[in-house]
């Protein structure tokens, strides 16, 4: 049984952490569903995997340090 109250509390507390699991499932689901199209040319699969890895890397870095200063903060500090 899916515990909906746990799901909703996770989403409200750390939605961005929860989202990485959602994205992971979606990426794997799309990989399986589009497997034939991805395998038609190696390039298709490589680009898909490359973008997925970049997305996961961004997500994991954010999970490790969610309070990292943003690009705007960094630029504002150094461009003055």
């Amino acid at each position: 049984m899916i515990k909906f109250d746990l799901v909703i509390s996770q989403m409200s507390k750390g939605g961005e952490v929860f989202m990485i699991y959602v994205f992971g499932i979606t990426v794997i689901y799309t990989l399986i569903k589009q497997w034939k199209q991805l395998l038609e040319r190696k390039r298709n699969l490589l680009v898909y995997l490359m973008l997925s890895v970049i997305g996961f890397a961004l997500g994991i870095v954010y999970m490790i340090n969610p309070h990292m200063p943003s690009l705007s903060y960094f630029l504002e500090k150094h461009m003055k």
Binding site: M11, E16, R43, Y48, G55, Y62, Y73
Partner: protein, 366 residues
Amino acid sequence: MNKEISLRQITFMFLFISISSVLRQVPQNLANDAGRSGYLSPLWSCLAMALITAVVIMLLTAYPGLNLYEIMVHLLGRILAKFIILIYMVWLLLNITAKVTAYNLTLQLTLMPRTKSELFMIVLALMVFFALMRGIKTIFRFSELTLSSILILFAIMFICALGRIRYDYLIPVSVTHMGKTIYAARHVITIGGNIVIALFFADKLGVAISKGQLKKLWLGALTFVLFTFVIVIFTFGISGSSLTANTPFPFYITVKSISFFNIFERFEVLVTLICLLSDFAAICILVVLIIRCLIWLFDLQDCLYLCVPLAMIIFYLTYYISSTQFEFNYLYKNIIENLNLLFEFCIPLLLAFISLIRKKKISKPY
């Protein structure tokens, strides 16, 4: 060659995706840079708009049936073209992330201040994916159908608001501020540069483009300038330039005071809805452009499945680029506007200049 979309649809799309930026960013930025004379800046932007429209038309007629990448391959060679497309893709990613952030901030400011941005992004991602599954024609037809209603609604709002304009907020205009109004026109120009989407979709327009169709681009540019002018003049005239400069969404505040003969009120909800629709269309088009850039860069075939990893990248990039309204305003004013000038004006101008020098007119075989 099959004509998938028309220049009329592209013009409508250009106007539709520009609406949200015109309503949200332009009045505040013009008030900050040019004060009470800022409403003259859209008129100065006519010159730049005329130039970029002429450049787009020149490239469309000189290279019929070729999109931006194919034009660059003919003019600059394959490697340089791919490099420029790569940096275009990075710019588009930054743009789409800024649009998603602006969309979240608009919803939090106007309707749902306590809702987390993740929920907005999930709903947006589902809507965009659903729209893209139907194809780009659906998105263009959506803008075609919706834009006329939106412009009529704005016309009604302006008629209702005429009595509330304070002319002491608008005049007198000092000649010493003219220089500032010319400089501030860049805030309008960076949004007007969206007209270059015509080059990205030029291969979908067919080989033969009539003069009547090209006139629509001119009409679109003129409509954009007039629309921006009217929005700014009403915002300044009702709210004043000081309040406009210090408010994140000044047109929303302005519209709160408008009523339709004291019967219908709360036009601000409609303004929020229009902004959301405009953002939605802009995000859809930007996703299509990013996917087109990926196809050109890596010689892929149609790959809608790339939306999934792209959605993940954009989702997390919204946390990386800005976390507050103030940071977003800084990013938009100092980074995104300057990048827009580079990619929407400088590069197409450069291509047009090279095209004139080389005087190559190539027709795509069909």
